[in-house]
Every structure is written in C-alpha cells, then in structure tokens.
C-alpha cells in the first residue's frame, strides 16, 4: 500500500529553533531516508521551497491570472513529503512518527493512502 506522509511546516516555528535543533532535524531526515531505502519502503521524497516563493495560477475565461504567494493564507504550509510503499496503514503511521518534524511542538505530519499513481513508475 502506498502512502503520502506530508510535512506541514510553520515557518515561524522553524525560525524559532536553535541551529542545533535545525541541524538535528536535517540529520534525522537523513537517517530516516537511509532506513526507508534499506527496508525497501521508500518510493521518493521531496522538499519544497518556502511558501513565499509560490505562485498561484487561476484560469478565468480562458485567461491565466497569476499571483505571488501561497494559495491559502495560513500558518502552516506543505513543506515536503515522503511517498512510501509499506505493509498497511499501521506501519505508515509508525513510520510517520519517525519523521523528525512530528516531534516538534507546533508541527505535525499527515498520512494519507495513495489512490492513483502514474508516470514515475513507467518501466
């Protein structure tokens, strides 16, 4: 079963962390990625640029209208994700709990099963 573990970051929370804490998050992700690769559960992982760099595109009457900034004005934004293939939802939740962000006050990760996939896995 494939699941997306999405990391919902809050730039204010991340900015308030010490350098050591930030380094620990980076190291934690590195170890997590390595373990997922070895167990044969990692499909891919990606991290996104700061939400301030986002562009929102809306097409009205056939004309695209582009605005800077994220789609929703919120405190939390999608910061990145892990796409995994594992035994069941319990295992996906167990893995999600190992994502360093999950242990930081004010942050959390979300687990959702994948329903359709195409492109990446074409042989």
């Amino acid at each position: 079963m494939q699941f997306l573990i999405s990391m919902h970051i809050n730039p204010a929370v991340l900015d308030a962390l010490t350098d050591e804490e930030k380094a620990a998050i980076g190291a934690g992700h590195g170890q997590f990625i390595q373990a997922l690769k070895e167990s044969g559960e990692l499909i891919t992982t990606q991290a996104l640029v700061d939400p301030s760099q986002a562009a929102v595109v809306r097409v009205r009457n056939g004309q695209p209208a582009v605005t800077d900034g994220p789609f929703l004005e919120a405190k939390e934004y999608l910061g990145g994700f892990y796409l995994i293939d594992c035994e069941d939802k319990d295992r996906a939740i167990e893995l999600a709990a190992q994502v360093p962000d999950a242990a930081i006050e004010g942050l959390g990760v979300e687990v959702r099963q994948v329903m359709f996939a195409d492109g990446l896995l074409e042989a």
Partner: protein
C-alpha cells in the same frame, strides 16, 4: 522456440535450478542471486542461439559458476567456500519437495507479507525484480532493496532448506497459501488505483498454486485455494466495462465467464469436499462454485451460499465473513434481516467506517426501500474506498438514486 515459450520454460525451471543449488551449496541468498543472473543470461542467449539440449543442466552449470565467482570475489566468504567444498556433493536430481521447500523459505515468518510475496515471485515464480516492481507499482530500486532485505533476514534467522515437519509444516503451509492468495488478490483488484485487472499477477498466483497442488494433491485447503482462484478468475472478463467501470456479480454477463476454468474449479471443490477437512479456502471456493453454477443471478442458490457462510463464520470468525453472510441472508430472508445482521458489526472496530460495511448497508437499504439512506451510505462508502474503480461505481449508484428521489 519462441521468446514467450522460452520465458515460460525459464520460469518453470527457476525453482528447480534454485533447489539444486541451495541443496548443494546452502546459502540461499547467494544462490538466489546466481540463479537470477543465469536466468537473465539465458533470456538473452537462448532466443538468439537456440535452447540447449539440457536447459536445466545449462542453467545449473551457469548459476554454479556465477555462485563460485561470487564466493571467490568476496574475501569474507573464503572460509565458507572451503567448508562447502569439503561437503560431499548431493545428487543433481531435483527432489520433488524442492518447490515446497523454496516456498517455505520465501514465506518465512520473520518476513513481512510484502517481502514474502516479492521473494516468492522472484525465487519461485522466476519474475525479475523489474517485473515485480512494475506489478506492485513501485520503483525497481525499492523492490530490489526489499528483496535483498528479505534474503538477509532469512539468513539471520538461520533457516534451513528443508520442508519442516508436523505442526510447523502446517503453520508454514498456511503462510504459503496466504501469500499466494495475496498475490492473486493484488492481481485481481489492485488495492489502490484505477488499474482493475493486473491479470498477470492473478495468472502467476494460479500457476504457483498449481505447483503446490501438484505436490500436495490431497490437501483440501490447497485444492480449495486453487479452486477459489480459478472460479474467481473465470469472471474477470465480465467484471468490468471496457472503460474500467465495475460490474457487480448480479449484473455480469454470465456468457462471458470462462467455462473451462469454472469446470476445473468446481471439479476441485467437489473432490475436496469429499475429504476429511473443511477449511476456509475450500468453503470460499464452494461459495464461488455455487455462484458459478447459477445460469442467471436470480437462480442463485442463496440458501446454500448462506449455509456455507455460516460454517465459514464458525470455523474462521471474521467480520468480513459476517458481512458477506448478511448479503446472502438478505436474499433469503429479506433486506431487513440482512440489515439486522449488519448492526451486529457496528461495534466491531475493525469495521468502523470500512467502505465494504458502508456499501453493503447502502445496497440493503436500497432493497429495503430507503433511497435517501442508501444514497447517503453509497456516498460515504465512495469516500472511504482507496480504489478509483470502486469509487466510481459507488458514486454512480448514489447518483442513480438521486434521480429517483422526490424533489
């Protein structure tokens, strides 16, 4: 010989060659890699140069050479090599138990189900890592890591290449059958996604179940599992529209069911039912055979289906079985009786919010003349499923009811 015929031959020979190597050298992990390399070499050479006179002997020779190269190039394994060389070489005749012994090894209890299925498909089924990865919709690197981890686990568990005896044998056989069942199901309905038929996996599961049945023809559960697969696969042409929309059993064109598979499956069920043991696979196969026996949906012997589910519920209690019994009960005693049985499942946390419970309740509410309740449950079921084909079907049932609802 044509390339597909060569591929079939190679997959048939894979467990035999691997069996010879493992019995001669031990170390399943290295032997499995060596056999995979020999199979790949044959897949390239044989179509161009012709199939050798003794294809099995050719593969054993090439795989043994690869294994020895591998051992020599690995300094850490030097000692083990000399230990192996000191042992008397057993004969090269494949024991009839080799396939079973390999299956028992691949379905080792130390592995997760996902690893058991992957390793079984590679070591016994003769599929390449790339083919297995494609079938399970994961990148090849992910599948390669999973298979390699599985082989390390087996080595760490110190498992021997032998068919276990007594109660352990029965336990392990149960795991083997479960793994084959999972492979079949993965092919039959993808657990997620829009690809309804991954028929190759279903066919592969049937081929492997036939291998086990050939070894254990008197085992009722082995016969039952093979029959269940055949009877289910017989419907695969009829169970979806060309656009991929699901067609429920009662609306399927039964003229498109595969009569040859039904005949074979029904024959297996009848023979096994005469035997001493009545297990869950055999009972499920008997239910599938009862459906296959009905010329039209209206002629289904629901009393027999209900009776079989009742026995199944007693020997292997499971909320999913109760759910299916409720469908049969609704056909014999009316939808309200079915709904009453469903309410017994409401407290079961394994079923809370499960799309099957929601969709069966929707179906029975529709039959009971409650279109508003049915529509609500179809829509909730559509939200709960992870299958796009199923979601589309449930949404279409819901909108069909909306057009009938008073404004």
């Amino acid at each position: 010989m044509t390339t597909p015929a060569i591929e079939d031959l190679l997959r048939e020979l894979t467990p035999q060659v691997l069996g010879v190597l493992v019995r001669r050298h031990g170390q399943f992990e290295g032997c499995e890699d060596a056999v995979q390399e020999a199979i790949l070499a044959a897949a390239v050479q044989w179509p161009a140069e012709g199939v050798p006179g003794n294809p099995r002997g050719w593969l054993v020779a090439v795989a043994s050479r690869r294994l020895i190269d591998q051992v020599r190039s690995d300094r850490a394994r030097r000692e083990r090599e000399s230990a192996t060389a000191a042992e008397p070489a057993p004969g090269d005749v494949p024991g009839s138990d080799d396939t079973l012994a390999l299956l028992f090894l691949c379905c080792h209890p130390a592995l997760t189900a996902a690893s058991q299925t992957a390793l079984t498909l590679r070591a016994v089924g003769g599929l390449t890592t790339a083919e297995i990865a494609r079938a399970f919709l994961v990148p090849e690197a992910t599948m390669a890591a999973r298979i390699s981890r599985a082989k390390q686990r087996i080595r760490a568990a110190g498992s021997s290449f032998a068919v276990p005896a007594g109660a352990e044998r029965a336990d392990r056989l149960r795991v083997v059958l479960h793994v084959l069942y999972l492979i079949f199901n993965e092919g039959y309905t993808a657990s997620a996604g829009s690809d309804l038929h991954r028929a190759d996996l279903a066919r592969e599961a049937i081929r492997l179940a036939r291998l086990v049945h050939a070894e254990l023809p008197a085992d009722g559960e082995v016969s039952g599992l093979l029959a269940l697969m055949l009877l289910t696969h017989a419907r695969h042409e009829a169970r979806a529209t060309p656009a991929g929309d699901l067609i429920p059993l009662e609306e399927q064109d039964r003229g498109r069911w595969d009569r040859a598979l039904i005949g074979e499956g029904t024959g297996l069920v009848c023979a096994a039912l005469a035997g001493p043991a009545l297990g869950p696979y055999l009972l499920q196969a008997a239910i599938a055979a009862t459906h296959a026996d009905a010329a039209t949906a209206a002629q289904t012997n629901w009393r027999q289906v209900h009776a079989l589910y009742l026995i199944l519920e007693r020997i292997a209690p499971n909320p999913m079985v109760t759910l299916n019994r409720a469908i049969a009960l609704a056909e014999t005693e009316g939808p309200l009786a079915g709904l009453a049985l469903l309410s017994a499942l409401d407290g079961d946390e394994r079923m809370a919010g499960h799309h099957r419970l929601l969709s069966v309740r929707a179906h029975l509410l529709e039959k009971a003349g409650d279109p508003a309740g049915a529509r609500d449950h179809y829509r909730r079921a559509a939200r709960a499923t992870a299958s796009i084909a199923e979601q589309r079907y449930l949404q279409s049932r819901a909108s069909r009811l909306r057009t009938r609802l008073p404004p």
